[in-house]
């Protein structure tokens, strides 16, 4: 459902993505790992349409259409969702209002009827329960004053409500304690299905014990330098990222 070909992206004339190729099939879960600064978040943001990154080469096909032609909102309406590494705080906008507006715009674009406040609340309650989230979060301003863990859960909660077809998660595990990690992973796993693909970006292998991927890719210096099955994650965990540097330098890339 997603094909990335030779994707190059830069910001302020600094090239960050330097030729990414990736193929994600329907229902598959792909993990992208890599050291800090390798371009994981940039890739995720480019897929979501962040304009501060300029795509200088390559293409991205989503369900056969040219993704890069779409505005961020149109991508979301087409079923793409990004769980941010650093979710933005929006003072004065309640989580409920925000999420219901989002859901209804997406529904409208799909020719569905809008959901009223009552039905939305019922839906939200159901999803909150799965994530073991406090209902009080609904009435607070979006992410404002949320703890790190609350922010991450809120991202997954939004994903659960919006039910995207392609869910991209950028370090949804970072900064979580093991209990929170399990809950978030449980939330993500409950959304797995044959009609939904996922790209799980993580710096640590730990998350992949709970969200078991079909494929693992290693992003290094703006390129995918190694791809494999879930076992690759374990290899990375035991060897660290250091050996990659040597391999890349020696030209032994996968």
């Amino acid at each position: 459902m997603l094909t990335i070909k030779n994707l190059h992206a830069s910001t302020n004339s600094k090239e960050i993505l330097r030729g990414i190729d990736l193929e994600v099939g329907l229902g598959e879960v792909h993990a992208i790992m890599g050291p800090n600064g390798s371009g994981k978040s940039t890739l995720a943001q480019v897929l979501a349409g962040r304009e501060v990154y300029e795509v200088t080469d390559g293409e991205v096909l989503y369900d056969g259409q040219n993704l890069l032609d779409l505005s961020p909102e149109d991508r979301a309406r087409a079923g793409i969702f990004l769980a941010f590494q650093y979710p933005v705080e929006i003072p004065g906008v309640s989580n409920t209002y925000f999420l219901r507006s989002a859901l209804n715009t997406i529904r409208k674009s799909q020719g569905l009827t809008e959901i009223d406040a009552m039905d939305f609340l019922a839906l939200a309650r159901k999803k909150l329960k799965v994530l073991d989230m406090d209902e009080a979060l609904m009435n607070r301003s979006v992410n404002e004053g949320f703890s790190g863990g609350e922010k991450k859960r809120n991202e997954i909660f939004q994903m659960a409500i919006l039910e995207p077809r392609l869910a991209i998660q950028d370090e949804t595990d970072s900064g979580l304690d093991i209990d929170a990690l399990k809950e978030v992973a449980h939330g993500v796993n409950s959304l797995r299905g044959p009609e939904r693909s996922m790209i799980v970006v993580t710096h640590y292998q730990r998350l992949l014990n709970y969200i078991v991927p079909d494929f693992v890719h290693v992003l290094y210096n703006g390129r995918i330098v190694k791809s494999g099955k879930k076992e690759l994650a374990l290899e990375l965990e035991s060897k660290g990222y250091g050996w990659l540097e040597e391999e890349v330098a020696a030209g032994h890339t996968a």
Binding site: E73, A76, F81, V88, V93, F98, V142, L162
Partner: protein
């Protein structure tokens, strides 16, 4: 005086035309008026050379010979006012059209016993004793040509007197309407609010206008809060597109009184609002909130002064502005802490959101501290809509113009949230929403 022709003489003549009426009224008032017109003659209209008027050119006022409207032609119907923010509120109200009281659309039922809400002109002719003591005793006409002019020419307005201990549940609404008919016209609304000890009340002062005619509304309001009085006062502008409004609100606070003011500006072509609060008793508290939403070529200038004259007083001031189009804003917030005002606790902030490249804001906080044991902070911000927040909303499917609207609404709604009386908040949100909907525009690529 300016080299350009101004019409100061027009108002001196208007004053003369009324001198006979003034002589028939109480002597003290005639004297006040005489002093005021003399002062106005001396001061003349301010120019941008005047430090207090540096960024606001009053040429649209000074260079037009505004005339008062005769009582008989001052009419408006309830239907023609229904659109205005608070008109459908269920509360007692006094309506003045082009400066004249309009009994047909005023509504005074529901006032608690002992509470006075009436026309100033009537209170004057009834010889109300409190007037001589309070009317025109606070607003400074020595240093303000516009206050002097209002004081000389004032005909009518709201007079509210709340006795000791009275708790007024519903707001009292003073509505000043300008129809703009037969313009250019002037009105000089005058409001006096006397809040007795331990009383509690909410007062709204609305200024609205419609039509295409040019008018000038020169309003002065004095609010006197006695010990322990708790007052919430909101002033709302929904003036017409071509209107000029100069408003002065002077608040005098006694010991442990608590006054909250809100200033909401959604309309007008040229608006100048002066708000001066004197915390003149130990432990008094003032909250000053303001929200201005300006677009096209609208100009708004807020000058506020918080004068801490006694110890242990607290003030909190937050003014927020949303400026679009080629709108211009001025915020000058002065905080004075007198020598005796130890333990003053004052926080002031002015935040502005600029939605276009051409909109401008001049913001200047001024602290003048003469006491040594005080806590005072102030700050100002000028910024655009947060691009990261916009992207976050868009990444959830919300369109770009809707995203901007949501963020702008949230920024402005912060001020509306501070209004204590819930039905007012709802109306204000509606007004804000409509105002933003009207101006939602295409995003530059």
């Amino acid at each position: 005086m300016t080299a350009v022709k101004d019409y100061q003489g027009t108002y001196l003549a208007q004053f003369q035309a009324h001198e006979k009426d003034h002589a028939a009224g109480p002597g003290w008032l005639a004297e006040v008026r005489r002093a005021a017109i003399h002062r106005f003659a001396e001061l003349g209209f301010p120019t941008t050379k005047d430090e207090e008027w540096k960024y606001t050119n009053v040429a649209p006022i000074a260079q037009v010979p505004f005339q008062p409207v005769a009582a008989a032609s001052a009419t408006a119907t309830a239907e023609s006012l229904a659109w205005s923010c608070f008109f459908e509120l269920d509360c007692p109200r006094l309506v003045f059209v082009n400066g004249h009281y309009s009994p047909g659309i005023s509504f005074l039922a529901g006032l608690p016993k002992g509470v006075t809400a009436t026309r100033l002109a009537k209170a004057v002719s009834a010889g109300t004793p409190a007037l001589e003591q309070h009317l025109a005793r606070y607003a400074d006409l020595q240093n303000s040509a516009f206050t002097a002019l209002n004081t000389a020419l004032m005909q009518d307005g709201g007079f509210i007197e709340i006795p000791r201990g009275a708790v007024v549940e519903k707001p009292i609404y003073l509505l000043y309407v300008s129809t703009g008919d037969g313009g250019p016209t002037i009105s000089s609304p005058r409001t006096l609010i006397l809040a007795g000890r331990e009383c509690q009340a909410t007062v709204i002062e609305g200024h609205i206008g419609f039509g295409e005619g040019t008018y000038f509304s020169n309003a002065v309001t004095e609010i006197v809060a006695d010990e322990n009085a708790v007052i919430e006062y909101s002033k709302l502008h929904q003036e017409s597109r071509t209107a000029s409004h100069v408003g002065t609100v002077r608040v005098e606070q006694a010991r442990s009184s608590n006054v909250t003011t809100h200033s909401f500006s959604f309309g007008g072509a040229l608006i100048r609002e002066d708000l001066n609060a004197v915390l003149n008793g130990e432990g008094a508290e003032a909250q000053l909130n303001g929200l201005y939403l300006m677009t096209a070529r609208q100009h708004i200038d807020h000058h506020t002064t918080l004068d801490h004259a006694q110890p242990h007083c607290a003030s909190r001031e937050l003014y927020k502005g949303v400026l679009d189009g080629q709108a211009a804003g001025v915020f000058n917030g002065r905080v004075i802490v007198r020598k005796d005002a130890q333990k003053t606790d004052s926080k002031q902030s002015n935040k502005n959101l600029l939605l276009s490249e051409e909109a401008v804001i001049n913001t200047k906080p001024q602290l003048e501290i003469f006491a040594d044991d005080v806590k005072c902070t102030h700050g100002a911000t000028i910024g655009q809509v947060d691009q990261e927040a916009i992207f976050y909303l868009r990444s959830r499917g919300i369109g770009i113009s809707e995203a901007r609207k949501i963020l702008t609404f949230a920024f402005a709604n912060d001020i509306i949230d501070r209004v204590k009386f819930a039905p007012l908040r709802d109306r204000l949100r509606d007004a804000l929403f409509q105002s933003l909907a009207k101006r939602s525009r295409k995003e530059p690529a």
